[in-house]
């Protein structure tokens, strides 16, 4: 209770004093206007009090309270007289009053040395010297004269000279000579003269008339209004910043100048700045994913740009350069992987026996050599395939010739595939021959299709190239005696090749969607690459960088997404305020909340943290300890998911058809009248897809397939007869699907060698997901680039997930021989990805912030713009990317810069959750530890300066923005 009372007293006192001071100063100015003498009296009193305070603060006097009283009284008396007396009398009083004030303070001057904080302060008694006493006041007087001239004589000459001369005097008496040696009377004299000088300066100007008082009041009112703010800002921010800069060049106690040693220490300490792990960057999963996304994004962008440009030799050259570039990039990627091999794959962050994570093992060199050859073979093949595809796609020969040539090329590539397969078989020596046979069938299919002109010119060879790369990667995979590198290489290969396929395939009109998609993919690719880089380069500074990239981008994107979702959802405001709520929780509290989420108990016990609880539970679903066949549950789940996706496809089709109907034409060849009236069509399509693996091979041979019968689909419906749209889509699907299917099927085969039931389930699920991924994008977009690229973006993670679920399995377990034992993730301790789990906390907090801002910005987009876009036939997503996003771009900029500044300084979360252990240190926490636990102010300051420099560009951007807004 006492605590409560003292607290309240403190609160009321602080607020009261602040208010009294403000109001007091303003009242003082009111007085100045109306009652001049009263004003000067008060002013004199305050000046006296201030002088006494200065003396006290500098430990000049013995009894500060008494001095304060006397000084205030003298000041008040002199002030009153100065405010009332006329002419010379006023000046006399001013001088005498000032001198009296000086004497009053001087009377109480301390005469004995005192010891403060271990240093001895001499008494403030200067030994005066004649030369400085003449020189400095004279110099001051000269400056005063110049100031008077410079101010165009709007101030009083006497005042100006008196002030500056007195300042010179003070400097000459107190600063220049040694203290503590002079007699008391000299100090008294010095103070009296100084006081007199200031008194003269104050009293010299004439008493202002009412207009002058008005002016004076107005001018001073500005200072009173601004003064406190500037005082605080100057002290807490400006001077402190300058002092920190200064301290960063001093030693740890702030005594000696040490130059840049503190900065050198930051950048030579491997804990803060460690680039020795750079080769690991290239073997990281995010690197590969990022590179792949970047490539596709660039390719799509190039396609869109090419479509917009006029057809001519320059664009031809551009595409040729693009083709060569892609091939070269593939080779570079291979080389980079090879470089990484020299150091093994230690950078994956997990060990071989953790079946749970993204990856895997330490390579030995013999294995790596095989991989190297396989990768090189793949790269060369890819280059050849892409270049050939390019030539074919852009030749100006008539279609018949092109088709013939395509046939030849197909045959050549078949041969190449056989060679590569044999080569792989030679290296790996096992079942690779089976794959080769499958590949040959597929290639023959491509050849036959080409002959029948059933697919657009130039599309097939690229698929074949993709197939070749798949084969090569699988060879590599086989050479690796199991593991996911091959899979990742496959993914990479398929991504690259399909990107290339887009580039050389359908020449649809470049709508905005293609470029938006491509920039999105480029951004995502850069994001992944950045993640790989900062996860590979270790140390505090890179961690901080990682935070900034990850949290800023994720929170911005998530916030935008939620805002869009909320914009059309029911109960919008309730949902928004719940997502917003973490903003009210302290970083410390959020850190604790998430510590409970991440906590892990020993695997034998029940988990108490949500994350590990879920993880282990998922592992159980896959595990042998579930009754019944291990693959049944995932298969059912997979079917459910697939069913939902099928519904979604159906919905999309209805939408597309409606859109087409509203324009009075067919959109994507779907007529509304053709859309099946009931959901049974969806179920039928689903059934066709489920049975796809069975029906597919007959379809390839060109005969009537079971699939065709089931779904009523002609394999390729080129003449545009009135086939039902779902069937038409399924037909088109077949153009693209083999590459996917082969990749996952091969994975299946491999897995089947361990567990055939799981293998079969995987196969089915993978096919389902792949097909549906393609279908979705077929249905949702009329843009070929968007379709193919989007299909991959959606499909690959799903395939990956399916593979993880059904292959080795996903979840918290480890294999011990044939049985699975529960295993947990140490979210907070497993480096380097534990950093991401800490970032999640900040993302959780900040998404609400970004959501609120974006929500308001989206609602502020003029409705007529959106209406206009809709009238012009833009789809929902086109409207969003083409109208809404450009409109809110400035807001995105503001949000991003705000977040960058905030994330750069992240401290509380790291301090509370790990205190920088387990390689999670950030600059702010490092700074705090150095400065306040080790009391190394020099190094602490240098770290603060590093933060400051990092924020500087944002400050400049902000200044520009404000200037723009002002003008």
């Amino acid at each position: 209770m006492d605590k409560l009372i003292t607290t309240l007293q403190g609160v009321v006192g602080a607020i009261g004093i602040s208010l009294i001071v403000f109001v007091g100063f303003n009242k003082l100015l009111d007085v100045a206007r109306n009652r001049w003498a009263f004003f000067t009296t008060l002013f004199g009193a305050i000046a006296g009090l201030g002088a006494a305070g200065l003396a006290w603060g500098n430990r000049m006097v013995d009894s500060p309270a008494l001095v304060a009283v006397i000084a205030t009284l003298i000041g008040a008396a002199a002030g009153y007289l100065v405010g009332t007396l006329p002419g010379m009398a006023r000046i006399g009083v001013g001088v005498l009053g000032g001198a009296g004030l000086g004497v009053a303070i001087g009377w109480f001057l301390r005469t004995e040395p005192i010891v403060v904080d271990g240093t001895t302060l001499p008494p403030p008694l200067p030994a005066l010297q004649v030369v400085p006493l003449i020189l400095w006041p004279a110099a001051g007087a000269a400056i005063g004269g110049l100031v008077w001239l410079a101010r165009r004589r709007r101030i009083s000459l006497v005042s100006s000279v008196a002030i500056w001369a007195t300042l010179g005097w003070v400097w000459a008496t107190w600063a220049v000579p040694n203290l503590g040696s002079g007699p008391v009377r000299e100090a008294l004299t010095a103070l009296a003269v100084a006081g007199g000088g200031f008194g003269l300066a104050t009293a010299a100007p004439p008493i202002p008339d009412s207009a002058g008082r008005e002016l004076l009041t107005r001018r001073w009112r500005t200072y009173v209004f601004l003064g406190p703010a500037l005082l605080f800002i100057g002290g807490a921010l400006v001077l402190s910043t300058i002092r920190t800069l200064y301290l960063s060049f001093l030693d740890e106690r702030g005594r000696e100048f040490v130059g840049g040693i503190n900065y050198a220490a930051i950048f030579t300490d491997p804990k803060t700045f460690n680039v020795s792990g750079w080769p690991d960057i290239f073997s990281r999963a995010p690197w590969l994913w990022g590179l792949a996304l970047l490539l596709i994004g660039l390719i799509v962008a190039a396609t869109v740009a090419r479509q917009r440009a006029a057809v001519g030799s320059s664009t031809r050259a551009l595409s040729a350069a693009g083709g060569i570039g892609i091939g070269a990039l593939v080779v570079v990627v291979g080389a980079v992987v090879v470089r990484a091999l020299g150091r093994g794959f230690a950078g994956w962050g997990m060990t071989e026996d953790t079946a749970a994570g993204p990856a895997f093992f330490v390579a030995d060199w013999e294995d790596s050599k095989k991989l190297l050859w396989a990768v090189l073979a793949a790269a060369v093949t890819a280059l050849v395939a892409v270049l050939l595809a390019h030539r074919l796609g852009h030749s100006s020969v008539p279609p018949d010739d092109a088709s013939r040539r395509a046939g030849w090329i197909s045959l050549v590539l078949v041969a190449a595939a056989v060679v590569v397969s044999l080569f792989g078989g030679f290296l790996a020596g096992t079942w690779i021959a089976v794959l080769a046979v499958v590949g040959i069938i597929l290639l023959a299919d491509a050849y036959l299709r080409r002959r029948r002109r059933q697919v657009p010119v130039s599309y097939g060879p690229v698929n074949i190239g993709g197939f070749l790369l798949v084969v090569a990667a699988l060879v590599a995979w086989q050479a690796r005696s199991g593991g996911a590198t091959g899979f990742l290489l496959t993914v990479l290969a398929v991504l690259v090749l399909t990107g290339a396929a887009d580039w050389v395939s359908y020449h649809t009109k470049g709508t905005g969607e293609g470029s938006v998609l491509s920039s999105g993919m480029v951004a995502l690719g850069l994001f992944f690459i950045a993640t790989a880089v900062v996860a590979g380069l270790r140390g505090t500074i890179f961690n901080n960088l990682w935070w900034v990239i990850m949290v800023t981008s994720t929170a911005t994107a998530l916030g935008l997404g939620v805002a869009v979702l909320a914009d059309r959802a029911k109960y919008e405001s309730v949902a928004k305020s719940i997502i917003f709520m973490p903003m009210a929780i302290s970083f410390v509290g959020a850190g604790i909340i998430w510590q409970f989420m991440y906590v892990g108990r020993p695997p034998q016990q029940d988990q108490t943290g949500v994350m590990n609880g879920l993880w282990v539970a998922i592992g159980r679903v896959n595990g042998a300890d579930v009754p019944g066949p291990g693959w049944l549950v995932p298969l059912l789940v997979g079917l459910l998911v697939a069913g939902l996706l099928a519904f979604y496809v159906y919905n999309s089709m209805v939408r597309v058809a409606r859109h087409g109907a509203s324009l009075g034409k067919e959109a994507m060849g779907i007529r509304l009248a053709d859309v099946p009236a009931t959901g049974t069509a969806v179920l039928r399509e689903l059934a066709a897809l489920v049975l796809f693996p069975v029906t597919w091979i007959p379809a390839v041979s060109g005969g009537t397939a079971i699939h065709d019968r089931l779904a009523g689909t002609a394999v390729v419906d080129r003449d545009g007869s009135a086939a039902r749209p779902l069937r038409r889509l399924a037909g088109r699907l077949l153009d693209e699907i083999p590459v996917f299917v082969l990749a996952v099927a091969a994975l299946t085969v491999a897995d089947a060698s361990n567990n055939w039931r799981r293998g079969v389930a995987l196969f089915v699920l993978a096919v389902l997901i792949t097909s549906l991924g393609v279908l979705i994008y077929r249905a949702m977009s009329a843009n070929a680039e968007a379709i193919a690229a989007g299909a991959f973006v959606v499909t690959l993670p799903l395939v990956w997930l399916g593979y993880r679920i059904l292959g080795p399995g996903i979840g918290g377990f480890v294999m011990a021989g044939e049985t699975r034992i529960a295993d947990i993730v140490l979210f907070i301790a497993d480096t380097p990805y534990n950093n991401i789990w800490l970032m999640v906390v900040l993302i959780w907090i900040q998404t609400g912030f970004t959501m609120v801002i974006f929500s308001a910005a989206i609602k502020a987009v003029p409705q007529d713009l959106i209406e206009a876009a809709k009238v012009d036939g833009a789809t929902e997503s086109q409207t969003f990317w083409g109208v809404t996003v450009p409109q809110i771009m400035p807001t995105i900029g503001v949000v991003a810069t705000t977040l960058i500044v905030l994330v750069m300084k992240v401290f509380d979360i790291v301090k509370v959750m790990t205190n920088g252990n387990f390689n999670t240190q950030v600059v702010a926490n490092e700074m705090w530890q150095r400065a306040f636990t080790e009391l190394n102010f020099g190094l602490g300051s240098a770290l603060a300066v590093v933060l400051f420099l990092a924020v500087l560009p944002v400050m400049i951007i902000n200044i520009r923005r404000i200037q723009k807004a002002d003008s």
Partner: protein, 314 residues
Amino acid sequence: MAVANPTQPTGLGKRIYGVLASIPTWALWLLVVVWSIPTFGLFVNSFRTRDAQRAAGWWTSIGEWDTFTVENYQAVLTSGPEGGLWTAILNSMAIAIPATIIPIAIAAFAAFAFAWMDFKGKEWLFIGTVALMAIPNQMSLIPLLQLYSGGGHFTLPFVDKVVTLFPDLGLAGEIPAVWLTHTGFALPFAIFLLHNYISQLPRDVFESAYIDGADNYTIFWRLVLPLSVPVLAAFAIFQFLWTWNDYLIALTMIGANGVNLPATVRIASLAGEFGRVEHVLGAGAFISTVAPLVVFFALQRYFVRGILAGSVKG
């Protein structure tokens, strides 16, 4: 082509369509659930005994309300160093309330001056002030702590004499040090926010007041303050949440002086012993979150307005 008369999907298809059309709603609510699980889990856990917390996850106890207890709350409030969390909560109040009001007062004056008074260098001073919003607090911590613990001194150049500009008031470890620091750090944003609002007030109001002979001081009290209540409230909530939730400044400025530490610092030090006191941690974290949550939900409208004014504009 008979497309002019689009037929609606019927029967099952229509129902499916209805389900699909509501996707944004359930996607949003799924996200809401995910977003609230961490807080909800902490809340549930805070009512469970130490043994229960260690034996199984909080989700297993849903429905078994009769096993819930408030003893964690009692324990964390009253026991522990310096009188438990209750003292720390009082300290948080003693820090947050003045550290909210003082900057508002100062910033309102300054914002008014920037918006409606004429003086030399106004634009540059304003831009400079606002640019300081981005300066990391870390840049000021060491000098400010030195200022509070030893005063501000300036060594005169060439003559090597020390002049004291700010006396040693022994503020380090005391609550006023935190007020002063928060005030300094908050001012740029406060001025920016209030200025944006105050400068948008209608000019005629001021002109007629000037004609009636009112000076700036009167106009400020009689016109500007009453008209600016919404933005003042917005900033107040912002600043209250900020100061209540602050950890860095309190930890630095109060440091070892346990009697003055606010709730955030106390709870963070509890979290440092995660394994041992885990069971009361949830209760502690929740208590310290109550005040901001109440303020947040009661005054959310103003808060959102403040965030928007601070970010979207400018």
